[in-house]
Point group: D2
Chain length 499, copies 4
């Protein structure tokens, strides 16, 4: 029976055989752990939104003919990609954090075309297997985690040259039923809250790396998997009694290291094995989708702008010109991110497999802006918040019969503002600029889907200096033998393809 509601989703996570370590201890039931719960709530919100607003968070899939959760949908048009962005922004607004499902969505979409092209070359049947897998998860309405980032070890060496072969996940055995993989994936977002994990290679591979060229799906509680939970700023506040100091008590992100010790994948869940030359294509297409998915951060930006506007209001200065001007600047930066993402999606093209792929140059531009603007938005939010955001006493002091009244006397903002509400908004700003969700809003914006330099390299590959030099030389009336440039990029062909 498929999962239908947020509540059913949460129930579906119970009683699994998960091996999750947190603070040096095995967690009995992750669903009940107060520090893990907010991250589950964030994923649950993706179900809740689908219930409340089907147009936004579901789509009709040609694969199953069902109206499926949009995170499980294979994009059938540029509009489908644009709609993903809209849903991402909405969920960012609703949760103020990372809702963890974009990796899975982007993995499924990129695998859809890559398996198609592998099959085309090798007459393999990966695409069929993947399609069957997608049918199953669409029917069951599962959460999919995508696991790409290997620990990498010595970065100057290829996977097969590493001293410890496990620093890249690889196949250690195969038999007629399937394969066994060993290794680890770092920085795994929301994996503990997923039903299935898809492992994928993390970078371009060489011929010697064939055993590392593996893609496959396994249940999140498959034998041999261990999770070690990441510890983050202010995370333990979620375990406190009062909900005030957390800032955003209901929602948070989740990061973990996943360790794979001879984890079995049956053949029908293997979507690549050995075709090392397709690893680069998979990584490029995945990051193309995923860098544009960071439009989600504009939803968080909306929340932070709202928090800044609220505190300005509580402080009695909502119309002071410099405050207003900072809110405009925050909005301008936030909408610039949104626009770059929307442009990338709307300029998508259809791949041979039928799935649509957004524009890669603009996806990188989107993400690159995301590595900068949220930090400036956060800085401006702290500016507007005032110093109290970091000098505020604890919720326990607010509720203590001696100190509570004192704080209510002295921490008043403009008339009519409840001190607790003022504190709550300040804690939300702390949460998003220094605290638990600053991880998602800032640091993840920096490194998720690739660090800034990764985008610069990808922009460089597509910037077509040869083409641009010709433009300049033409206008400057330079006469010289044409350069023998061999630019690989077709970016300007895409730009000038009329719709």
């Amino acid at each position: 029976m498929p999962i239908r509601t947020a509540e059913e989703y949460i129930q579906s996570l119970r009683g699994r055989n998960m091996k999750v370590y947190l603070f040096g201890e095995l967690v009995k039931e992750p669903v009940d752990h107060p520090m893990i719960k907010p991250s589950i709530n964030a994923v649950a919100e993706t179900y809740a939104l689908a219930e409340r607003d089907g147009e936004m968070a579901t789509a009709k899939s040609s694969i199953t003919g069902l109206q499926v959760n949009r995170f499980l949908h294979i994009a059938e048009s540029a509009d489908d990609l644009v709609n993903q962005n809209k849903m991402q922004r909405k969920l960012g607004q609703l949760t103020g954090t990372c809702f963890q499902r974009c990796v899975g969505m982007d993995a499924l979409n990129s695998l859809y075309s890559v398996t198609f092209e592998i099959d085309e070359k090798y007459k393999t049947n990966y695409h069929k297997r993947l399609t069957d897998f997608i049918k199953m998860i669409q029917q069951e309405n599962y959460v999919i985690g995508g696991a790409m980032t290997d620990p990498k070890g010595d970065r100057s060496k290829a996977p097969h040259q590493q001293e410890d072969p496990d620093v890249f996940l690889h196949v250690v055995e195969k038999n007629d039923k399937g394969i066994f993989v060993t290794g680890a994936k770092a920085h795994q977002t929301g994996c503990i809250n997923s039903h299935w994990i898809i492992v994928m290679p993390t970078m371009r591979l060489l011929e010697g790396d064939k055993d590392y060229a593996v893609v496959g799906a396994m249940p999140a509680d498959a034998p041999g998997i261990t999770y070690i939970y990441g510890r983050q700023s202010c995370d333990t506040r979620s375990m406190e009694e009062d909900d005030i100091d957390a800032g955003n008590a209901k929602f948070a992100g989740q990061e973990a290291l996943i360790v794979f010790d001879r984890v079995f994948i049956p053949w029908d869940k293997v979507f690549m094995f050995g075709e090392y030359e397709f690893a680069a294509m998979l990584v490029e297409r995945f990051t193309c989708y995923h860098r544009r998915s960071y439009v989600c951060k504009t939803g968080l930006g909306d929340v932070l702008i709202g928090a800044a506007a609220s505190i300005a209001d509580y402080n009695g200065v909502p119309d002071v010109s410099h405050v207003r001007d900072k809110l405009v600047e925050m909005t301008h930066l936030n909408e610039t991110i949104y626009a770059t993402g929307i442009a990338s999606s709307s300029q998508a093209h259809r791949t041979k497999s039928g799935v649509w792929l957004n524009d890669d140059m603009l996806a990188n531009v989107t993400k690159h802006n995301v590595t900068r603007f949220p930090y400036e938005i956060g800085r401006l939010a702290q500016d507007i918040a005032g110093g109290l955001v970091v000098t505020l006493p604890s919720a326990k002091d607010l509720n203590n019969p001696t100190t509570g009244p004192i704080l209510k006397k002295y921490l008043r903002g403009r008339k009519g503002v409840d001190v607790e509400n003022r504190v709550r908004i300040l804690r939300l700003i702390e949460n998003m600029t220094l605290g638990r969700n600053a991880v998602g809003y800032l640091t993840e914006s920096m490194h998720g889907a690739g660090s800034p330099q990764a985008q610069r390299i990808q922009i460089a590959r597509q910037m077509q200096l040869g083409y641009k030099k010709k433009l300049a030389k033409n206008l400057a009336n330079v006469k010289e033998n044409p350069e023998n440039d061999q630019e690989q990029s077709d970016y300007f062909q895409r730009v000038f393809k009329m719709k």
Copy 2:
């Protein structure tokens, strides 16, 4: 007989009864004036492109059923608006300057819906008149100049309150044949190179301003019109014999003050008169189109990036990491502008009249980025160019038999580079960062379609702080009576409208 080619266009400008002052003298034939010619060439390129690449620079018009120049086309879909952006970038690449036709295009499109809505309210027939006018110009393939910016006088006063009534263009007489207008329009781009001028009000008007609420079309050489040509950085280099020092000898922009002294407009060319409350709507829709039209500057950016890459190559340092990194940064900024424009266009909606209107928030975001990034791109181009860009001797020294060989000896870059070519590229960089086309690339990017503060005001109007405050308060678990906010903007309704 319609104009068919760039050459025919240039011919069509000859022999008109134009009153153009330049350097204190009446210009005999603007087409033959060496300082004006480059600006005509830039407009001519819009014809040439239509000849060469009809898909890009023409469109099938439902109004006439003809394949018309895209600058004369009324947008029938969001794609039509996206395609405008693509053509704008291409023409920016081809000319390295302002090609002057966007104002007319954006004026026609905004008038199309505004006249429709005036008629709807007042049962006037402006929309029919406009449609007839559009038919005629589509058939003849004319260039249209849009004239909006009045001198404004004392900015604290409404038009009808001004000491000198003429500081806003207004109707001074009407009879059964038509109306007579007096006043001036400043900063008029490309008007001398146009066949027809459409005058429009420049801002929100009050009831007392009825005589100022006038829109009408007149031939560019109508009796009573005087043009005073703007003087710009390095403009006289176009009058020099040698083409090197101009940097971009073929193409340039054009600015003039137009003075109207009782200029007659027959009724069938009057598209608004007295409906003062529609002035604001016209200005808003026009700037909505036009701020997004600044995507053209990415074409200039491409040229400047190409010039910087060329000079790096001539200097022998194309692969030095900091040079490469600066080219990536220039590209990133340039593509960010492009993406914001494309997003605005692709998120367009259909107005009641049938013409499509791009997203206003994102149009303002686009233009606001244009007031910043070209300056940084220009700064980086100067960085890569090296000091020679401002210490270079003149073309005459380069050609002088004594100094020429000396310069060729000492100004050599890497082996195999012709010194003259190196000089040409440096002069192009000077042209775009300090010289004649720096006007178009930098200062016009600052002030065209409204100065930065105008965009900030428009962003502020649409930023929906009330909506965002609710998001924040919801996550912070703030309980309070809802604010009685009356936000006029429907930006987030647009954002979350699924496609």
Copy 3:
């Protein structure tokens, strides 16, 4: 017997009658509280440095003839002010946090000249009282806390107009022995670690505010004082067993709300009472010293640059060009802050009282840069750190016999790097950009000594547009009647005073 060592300082804090609330409970002995201890250590380091390096951290005082801790020294030359900056940077390097003594130093120095000038006008004897107080604290080697920031209530009203008179600290009774004050001071840095507190007005006062125009000193444990400790990002990690997750386990800052309930100040410790028109002078001089004191943040910047360089090294990429370039940028920004502070100090002038006062324009410029650059330095540090900085498991997982070896296997950086050391450096970066000392490095840099807008107002007051307009008009050959400008500022007189 004076305090001589860091250890003696810590002992001197024991057994006082302090009423400190933290997490809703009265703290028994702050010195022994694990969350408070790091803030005491940071102050103790100011004693330790004086022991180790007397030239840096002590000065010969003309007041007592003693070699006193530099934080207790009244500046007798511009070099004394420069030397303060050098000591501040050094202590920032040694502690990586706020060492809390600058407010007291800057309060003493500003009061020194202000009391002198009050006495000059009113024949009072505040300066003598202050000098006696300074003698005593120099002899005893005490820590002085300066308390300025009132809660302020409704910001549109003067102190005496507030609904609740206590939102600004004020005199509620006086008798022949002294005065009694009631109110509160917010955002109080290091007060619990001080021996004496000096209260001061927080802004320009009006005639009706005489009871608010009060300056006086009292022991930190005077009857009637209550402290409510501020709760900050990651503060509870200091209470954990292991020292790794804290990032910087030894040092931290401290913020508290001080509440004054009829606290007695004897007349000999009253340094202003009623002379409301000197409140503005006091605030201006205090902020002049104190905004320049933010040079301390360059010491924290040095630590963070060092941490970023360390992690780049541990990751095996210390010489990659973009990493190197980011380290240069961080250094450039950090040294810009340092230089602006040093310039302000070196351009000091002697006041009538003999104490030297640094340049006010440049002090504001220093602080204004501090509201920006540490955020960018922090952003770049996160960039270099990589995503692991926010996905790292806890110290308990590192030490757990099951997960420890796994983490040591998979979190290895370049060969030869101990995983625990890598973790420690990442936790330090987290500490300074998201965690406990991010409060001091980022948010305090924003709001300490006045929020950004306060500096802009002060810069505006001194920018002498009238003078600059004359420069421009002279070069543009503008002939017009001179403006009747009455610029109050003498900034350019100071600039052009030759040394």
Copy 4:
């Protein structure tokens, strides 16, 4: 008889045997050339200031015992260096351009210590020769040009490896009277307006480059010298009749290529020859002085801020909050440059020769800020100026009897403002952001004294990552074997040297 006044200085330039090419022609008398004259005026202002304000622009020299022009003074204290900065800012304010004498001043000061240290090693007598030369020029009150920048040819090769040996200036013959040099120096500021030229090597040299390791002085009109004048934005406006369009008609900078064809230098004017290993020291010390000398640009910044404030006033919007805020931002950036320069000078140390040398890290930081902030100040000035700055008709149109009155009618700003004055201020803003003095304010700020990357390299050399890593590891409680770092820099020793 020494030169005593600005007028005498101008006279002293007449009748020399100068070979100056401009626009392909030999200039008869540079002093009388309208395009050269403004650059001479700028230098003359250094004499005029010395007459008017001896304290600012002269100093008592221990070498001659005379009160000499400060540009000829060898710094005898840190205050002397600070005073240079103050004079530089003043002259920037007075001229709005480059006054061209800093290179000579900085060359003399750096040679003073370098010749001393060469003599110390080789028992040569360069220092004595230089001192004699300084005596002579102090007595005669001459202008000295310093010529450093060789054309450099193929940048991957050392001077002696170049295909054309002349791309670096070198000794082609020596005899008992002196030496003969051949080569060229590019980007030479103010050389034509100098009495003497000092040639110096431009970079670190190798043993094979001995003939290139040459420093010597020669009269500016020595036989064999040819100047080819640089052509710059809007330069020909200086040759127009009316003074309006020039923007700043009186003052401008000057750049030229100097070509040396077997120019003779007698032995007593040779200050280095063959000691190749001292070339690097000379370049480093020269750039150390000279990068800090870019404080002059704050004087230009003052003019541009004044122009922006004037036009805001003429437009009737001086107190609009966003305009005011932009003026504050411009001021903040400008004062940041000033402060970094002052810090570098005030943190100077005495060299063995007795001359004082400012701090090198902070000099590089100063210049690096100068490569950024003037561009942003210029951008903001254009923002405040409005579009008219680039659409304004020419002075001839303003003076034409037909168009003049029209322009005066329509270009009016707020009441009471003379249109011509408004135009003059706009032309000044154009002059400094696009026109002739934009070269000095922007591009020279970028490349003068070394391009941005040169400063980054020098900052990198001094950033002491080893020292900073220790700070971080200490706070993170990292235990490991100390690195064997061999940092050459003593920057932190300088920082922590107490005054």
